[in-house]
């Protein structure tokens, strides 16, 4: 599969080189990049129409590069491209691919923010996570960690932004683009707002009551996890994954453990796979219950909030008995899990799934059937399938728009190829469908758990792994279906005991980026409800 793609790229661009340390990476020269990407995207047999991720890497000695992780929604084939920025450390330049994949708009801003790589042809080269008056690019290897002291004055957010284009003679042309006109009516939502699910800020311009443009301002909970990873050993890096998207703590950690195990050639036992899969699904149910509680609360209903938390507490009890943690469990470790399951685990999980099935009708009776809910969710915040793929809104949001993107189904890991489950796909792409996808997935997760819970095999819950682990050189990736989309791990190893670069694919970043597309033309009163159904968690976006 991958060979066909690499051969194609070689035909289009003979200078392309194939590297096979870890995963296969096709290295493409910067001036051919846009052309190759366009051809890959428009390919008739296997169109690479979904950009999973765009990751900047500082290769050292003034070489900055970007990795492009692409996937075809038709065949599920994946390919990874690499390009090196021209112009060295002072003025690194790469052509933008944001006209091919919309999600690159925000991912390229991230790469600019962290590495200072300017993307020519990108309409909006502003910083994304860091303050606009920040000096330097923190993920470069030579960044001085003390160069920016704490400032208690608020930054000024610019209303204009820059675009750079390359003239044929190789010089740069700077153009100013307008984010908000002086006569735009801009409403500021957040960062301290109860319904933005964390510290998210959206500058929203209005035409009367209608939303004209949303400019998300991120970084109010940016914690620099990716930079810190580079100075930690592999087992130490695990702790941060739980704190990214704390409602997908198990799944995130599962992805990182899987990536490291795969790179180090560690085989986990069947028992571990069972435990991990069950825990992942319990986590998914807990997350969807919280989604329900938050959505109804955003829309002004309080009683269903108590329903959601009632069942969620049952799951947290199960987690606590086995792992010791309620919200953040720190349970998966390299080579297995931290501790064996509690003696009452099986019985309690069985009781829970039975209870969940019997009680979910209460959720639907109090909220789903309500006229208010229907009027406020149906036909609101439409997202077409094409937009969903181009914006890379994975998870329930994409599946509500008719894009079957469940990693568990299309790239099965752990035990997902052995269990029988339905991938929930709706077609309208409105808030209602996004809500229904999650409600149906609760039952589907119960079904997965029921198939596994009686058959947990005996065996080791953890294989012995050296405390200081060294991974072979190369690029490694892993992805899982977290509670709200595809969570990916991208790891560059240089053979040391700590990663050279460890990047996480945020599930929420594309969702926040999609807010502009989804909310445009809707009333401002519906903005919060639409945001609620997109279901993002901010610390996962900002990392």
């Amino acid at each position: 599969m991958i060979q066909q793609v690499t051969e194609k790229i070689k035909q289009w661009c003979p200078q392309a080189e194939v590297e096979t340390a870890g995963e296969t990476v096709v290295s493409v020269p910067a001036d051919k990049l846009e052309d190759v990407c366009r051809k890959l995207h428009d390919d008739t047999d296997e169109p690479m129409d979904y950009m999973r991720d765009l990751v900047g890497v500082d290769h050292g000695e003034g070489v900055l590069g970007v990795y492009y992780l692409l996937e075809s929604t038709r065949t599920g084939g994946r390919v990874m491209l690499r390009a090196e920025a021209k112009g060295g450390e002072e003025n690194p330049l790469l052509p933008s691919v944001c006209r091919i994949w919309k999600t690159a708009e925000i991912k390229e801003r991230e790469a600019f923010d962290f590495f200072g790589i300017r993307f020519t042809g990108h309409p909006d080269m502003r910083r994304l996570f860091l303050r606009e008056d920040w000096k330097g690019y923190p993920l470069r290897k030579d960044y001085d960690m003390d160069s920016n002291p704490l400032e208690l004055t608020s930054e000024v957010n610019a209303d204009v932004t820059e675009e750079f284009n390359l003239r044929p003679d190789g010089t740069l042309e700077r153009r100013e683009n307008v984010v908000f006109n002086p006569d735009d009516f801009v409403v500021n939502i957040g960062p301290q707002h109860p319904s933005t699910h964390g510290a998210l800020r959206m500058r929203t311009s209005l035409e009367g009551e209608t939303v004209k443009h949303i400019d998300p301002v991120l970084g109010y909970i940016h914690r620099g996890i990716e930079k810190m990873n580079e100075s930690l050993t592999y087992p130490q890096t695990l702790a941060f994954t739980d704190r990214l998207d704390y409602l997908s703590a198990h799944q995130n950690r599962h992805a990182l453990c899987m990536c490291i195990e795969q790179a180090a050639g560690i085989e986990v036992t069947e028992r571990v796979q069972y435990i991990r899969t069950i825990m992942d699904e319990l986590q998914r149910i807990a997350s969807h219950l919280l989604f329900y509680s938050c959505l109804v609360m955003d829309m002004g209903a309080l009683t269903p909030f108590f329903y959601g938390f009632r069942e969620r507490e049952m799951i947290l009890d199960i987690f606590e008995e086995t792992t010791g943690g309620r919200l953040i469990q720190n349970y998966n470790v390299i080579g297995g899990v931290q501790a064996d399951i509690h003696p009452t685990f099986v019985q309690k999980v069985k009781e829970f799934t039975k209870h969940m099935r019997e009680i979910i009708h209460e959720y639907h009776e109090i909220f789903t059937g309500s006229v208010i809910a229907r009027n406020r969710l149906k036909q609101m915040g439409l997202l077409s399938r094409e937009d969903a793929i181009s914006l890379a809104t994975t998870g329930g949001t994409g599946r509500a728009s008719g894009w079957a993107n469940d990693v568990r189904k299309h790239h099965p890991y752990a035990l997902y190829d052995k269990v029988d489950f339905k991938e929930i796909v709706y077609t309208h792409g409105d808030s209602w469908d996004r809500y229904m996808v999650r409600m149906d997935e609760i039952l589907e997760s119960c079904a997965i758990i029921d198939q596994l819970i009686d058959n947990i095999p005996e065996g080791e819950f953890r294989v012995k792994v050296k405390p200081v682990l060294k991974l072979p050189e190369g690029v490694f990736t892993a992805s899982v279906e977290s509670s709200r989309g595809e969570f990916g791990v991208f790891l560059v190893s240089r053979g040391d005991k700590s990663p050279y670069r460890l990047h996480y694919r945020s599930t929420g970043l594309p969702l926040v980026h999609a807010m502009d597309t989804v909310c445009r033309g809707n009333k401002i009163a519906d903005l919060i409800a639409i945001g609620g159904t997109l279901d993002f968690v901010i610390p996962d976006i900002d990392r």
């Binding site: 996570f129 400032e151 608020s154 930054e155 301290q192 940016h222 704390y246 009632r310 919200l327 610390p539």
Partner: protein, 205 residues
């Protein structure tokens, strides 16, 4: 002295003899005893403080994980309405207490400061979780504030990552104790307190 402390548990960071159970409250009690209070004013104080301590309205500045545990506090199982905490205000103008739930970074720091300044007196701050106390696991980051007490004065620290709901209750009840001991009538301006706190810290150092 050594014999006395031998059996006490020791941690790397703190010797047992350094541990004081709420020395802040002890100091306040000492101050009250020293200065005395009139029958009328003192009784009025007690009444007002009884009311204030049982209806602490919080502004939940929830940036990350701890905020979810705070939500669990609001749900039926933990039910913080039992203690009068259930009203969370989303405007700093209506809040008595600033609950800082989650990491504060360099972009959020000016916002936190501004929210605190916007609150009306008397106001309190609770720092929830390792991140707000010291930066927690993100202490070495280029973007995380190592403890919100660098920005605003903190009344109660609740450690944990995230703290259990019971820990949150314990912390909030400590604040209630503190409010109950305060002199409400004829009290000093609170703006002076942070400076006093700073002096004490310097003395220790």
């Amino acid at each position: 002295m050594e014999m006395k402390h031998r059996k006490l548990p020791t941690t790397k960071d703190m010797r047992p003899e350094e541990f004081k159970n709420n020395d802040y409250l002890l100091r306040m009690a000492e101050e009250l005893n020293r200065d005395g209070a009139g029958i009328v004013l003192g009784t009025l104080d007690d009444l007002i403080n009884w009311g204030r301590s049982n209806s602490v309205w919080s502004l939940a500045l929830g940036t990350s994980c701890c905020a979810i545990e705070f939500m669990a506090l609001g749900a039926a199982r933990y039910d913080m309405a039992r203690f009068g905490f259930e009203v969370t205000r989303n405007s700093p103008r209506q809040a008595d207490l600033l609950m800082v739930l989650g990491t504060i970074n360099y972009r959020m720091a000016p916002v936190l400061k501004r929210l605190y300044d916007q609150m009306a007196e008397p106001k309190y701050v609770i720092a929830v979780g390792g991140c707000t106390i010291s930066g927690g696991p993100f202490r070495k980051s280029y973007y995380v504030v190592n403890g919100i007490d660098k920005i605003v004065p903190v009344d109660v620290y609740i450690p944990g990552c995230p703290p259990r709901p019971e820990a949150l209750f314990y912390g909030m009840m400590q604040l209630q104790r503190k409010i109950k001991m305060e002199r409400f009538l004829g009290k000093r301006d609170r703006n002076e307190v942070p400076q006093g706190l700073m002096e004490n810290k310097e003395e220790k150092a």
